[in-house]
């Protein structure tokens, strides 16, 4: 069912056009090369895929359904809306596709300990889950601000046996968690594997993460052909660093008829200065090992970001998305905090599905796009995760509870 060819590969140094690459401190260059080698070797090994795909099927619960959201479609009016249900995976978000893959690599390389950064906590939970299953020690770096707004996930990680390390430096959110994880990895790379959570970072992570997530788009493509008899007209995903977006969109890249849309977090509004829309508002820069679009000031100082959704609250974006955008293959869209909250409620009321705040950005934009199209068209939206972790934030905004953070 799955196509294991690596298409649209970066160049040898991990560049997608001028983007990407491996802008890392010397100490990490060899460990990164080792991971790259282990990845290519594993990817060519049938046994690796047999185990990976077995876990994806019987542990994660793949294939996830493609759901024709008829009630949402009727409420919005316009194109048919199909949802790729990554929220139904074990642990509740797409992130586990990647942690299974990298966890297997870590084990293959004989590493006894894994570390990860996390924003929304979904990648942290997915890493802690795999670490528990594989019997590895696990340390998760998380900004203190994110710990407060995603407390349920912090507790889940602890229950899974992971050590959650609060990060107070900088803005105490996702970018600072990456900094802290990198600082730890520099000192521990001999016995530790860094399970990077999104399609960014130094080569080979953007490639690795993309490959482990393409199951999303490959399934969705086959399911859409099966259910609707044709490909979607538009495929939509939210973008933090780009893992669910690359996972959904990559398998449609060579389908010229399919529009690919990335939805960024506009926070308080695209002109508010309080946002996390790096493609729309950033410029080319270098952070966390890759050249990509960054939100920064005139002198290259990386700026603090804002989004109601911790998983999108990041000043950069995966280099391959930057490349696809520059090449004109990727369309941009953006949603405010309010748009996302509204979409979360709409989907919940119309379909009985509570999406994560990250995914709610894709729902809001996807619905807007569907509305502008005829009823015989198809809009495919990646429902990247479920909303349980966000209930405190949502209740607070609805005025149902006192300030929960």
């Amino acid at each position: 069912m799955y196509n294991l060819d690596i298409t649209h590969a970066p160049d040898e140094g991990g560049h997608f056009g001028k983007f990407g690459g491996r802008f890392a401190a010397e100490t990490l260059m060899q460990p990164l090369k080792d991971i790259e080698e282990a990845f290519y070797e594993a990817w060519a090994d049938e046994g690796f895929h047999a185990e990976r795909l077995d876990l994806l099927k019987n542990y994660v619960g793949r294939a996830t359904p493609l759901y024709h959201a008829k009630q949402l479609t009727a409420a919005v009016g316009g194109a048919q809306i199909y949802l790729k249900r990554e929220d139904l995976t074990h642990t509740g978000a797409h992130k586990i596709n990647n942690t299974i893959g990298q966890g297997l690599l870590a084990r293959r390389m004989g590493k006894k300990r894994v570390i990860a950064e996390t924003g929304a906590g979904q990648h942290g939970v997915a890493t802690a889950t795999v670490a528990a299953m594989f019997g590895m020690q696990c340390d998760i770096y998380m900004g203190r601000e994110d710990m407060a707004r995603q407390m349920p996930n912090v507790l889940r990680m602890r229950l899974l046996g992971a050590n959650v390390i609060p990060v107070d430096s900088g803005t105490a959110t996702l970018k600072d968690a990456v900094n802290e994880a990198l600082r730890n990895w520099v000192a521990t790379c001999e016995d530790t594997f860094y399970i990077f959570g999104t399609a960014a970072g130094p080569h080979p992570y953007p490639l690795l993460v993309r490959q482990f997530h393409t199951v999303i788009g490959q399934e969705a493509r086959a399911q859409c052909l099966d259910q609707a008899g044709r490909l979607p007209d538009v495929a939509v995903a939210c973008v933090g660093g780009g893992s669910n977006a690359m996972g959904l969109l990559h398998p449609f890249r060579d389908d010229a008829s399919v529009r690919l849309v990335a939805v960024e977090a506009a926070g308080y509004g695209l002109e508010s200065g309080q946002l996390a829309a790096s493609l729309a508002k950033g410029k080319a820069g270098i952070l966390h090992g890759n050249l990509t679009f960054l939100l920064e000031d005139d002198e290259g100082q990386v700026q603090g970001t804002h989004s109601i959704s911790a998983g999108l609250d990041y000043p950069g974006v995966g280099p391959e998305l930057a490349y696809m955008f520059e090449q004109g293959r990727l369309e941009l869209d953006a949603c405010t905090d309010d748009d996302a909250l509204e979409a979360l409620q709409l989907l919940t009321r119309k379909e009985g599905i509570i999406p994560a705040l990250e995914s709610s950005h894709a729902i809001a934009a996807g619905a807007r796009i569907a509305k502008s199209m005829a009823a015989d068209k198809i809009v495919l939206i990646n429902l990247s995760g479920r909303g349980d972790k966000d209930m405190n934030t949502v209740f607070k905004h609805l005025g149902w509870v006192e300030d929960a953070s």
Partner: protein, 275 residues
């Protein structure tokens, strides 16, 4: 592009001078603009008095390879409103006062990238810098800066670490000039020094490959005793966190300056002592 005038670099002259004096060089680091631009000027001048080479850190919002001490320095500098123009101005002040001092600008890729490497190199050279050390531009990514640095006659200082294989050592040496900076441990700045014998062996090995390029050793040198030990087998000893650590210890310029000067003087003595 004009052909650069071939003259021996100032960094080469510094190492030659130290060699003649039979000692290792003291390479002192401070972050520019820490804790503010005015105080920083006095501190850099004080450290320059004792150093053979001064590394001037360019503050950055996300210093990924630095430990808490130098992270805090970057934060203080940015908080105080330090701009890249201030970094160049401070460099120029130090250069005017110390014509023979080696000066290296050190930092992360995004700051020069935002300015454009060509303009950055021109301004660095005009300010009087001899070389540039960018932590997150390994040899493989040199395509974004090498031509500009070369055009303005700036040395590119390359890092090597315990994880560097022979292949990587060769790669780094092929694009390095000025000196090689050997990071003595797998870790961030300010960590504790590793096993001295292991460091010595690796430095010896690098020198076999580096083709006479001087090798300085840093990360974790905190005491004069360590400085003397490292000096015994290296061309230079880099001291960073230990010097920066004086800054939050006092709240007035005179006291910080006095403490830094004393500390730098003892390190300077230590690198000249016989182990």
């Amino acid at each position: 592009m004009s052909t650069p005038i071939a003259r021996p670099s100032r960094l080469a002259a510094v190492f030659e001078r130290c060699k003649q004096e039979g000692r290792s060089a003291l390479v002192g680091y401070l972050t520019a603009g820490d804790p503010d631009v005015t105080t920083s000027e006095a501190l850099l001048l004080a450290l320059a008095e004792q150093s053979d080479i001064l590394e001037i850190g360019m503050p950055f919002s996300d210093p990924m390879a630095d430990g808490p001490v130098i992270q805090a320095a970057s934060e203080r500098a940015l908080e105080a409103g330090t701009h890249i123009a201030d970094v160049f101005a401070l460099t120029k002040t130090v250069r005017d006062a110390h014509p023979d001092l080696g000066i290296v600008l050190m930092g992360y890729a995004n700051v020069p990238y935002a300015m454009g490497f060509e303009l950055f190199s021109q301004r660095a050279k005009t300010a009087g810098a001899d070389g540039v050390l960018i932590v997150d531009i390994p040899a493989e990514e040199g395509h974004i800066c090498d031509a500009s640095l070369k055009q303005y006659g700036l040395d590119r200082i390359m890092l090597l670490s315990p994880t560097s294989t022979d292949e990587r050592i060769k790669l780094a040496c092929a694009c390095a000039s000025g000196f090689i900076y050997y990071v003595s441990l797998n870790g961030i700045t300010g960590a504790d020094m590793g096993d001295m014998q292991g460091i010595q062996d690796k430095v010896k090995h690098i020198k076999c490959i580096s083709n006479d390029l001087p090798v300085c050793v840093g990360f974790g040198v905190k005491t004069p005793v360590q400085a003397t030990q490292v000096a015994a087998f290296s061309d230079g000893v880099v001291v960073g966190s230990h010097f920066v650590g004086h800054i939050p210890q006092a709240d007035n310029k005179a006291d910080i300056c006095a403490a830094l000067s004393a500390s730098a003087a003892s390190m300077r003595k230590a690198v000249g002592a016989i182990a």
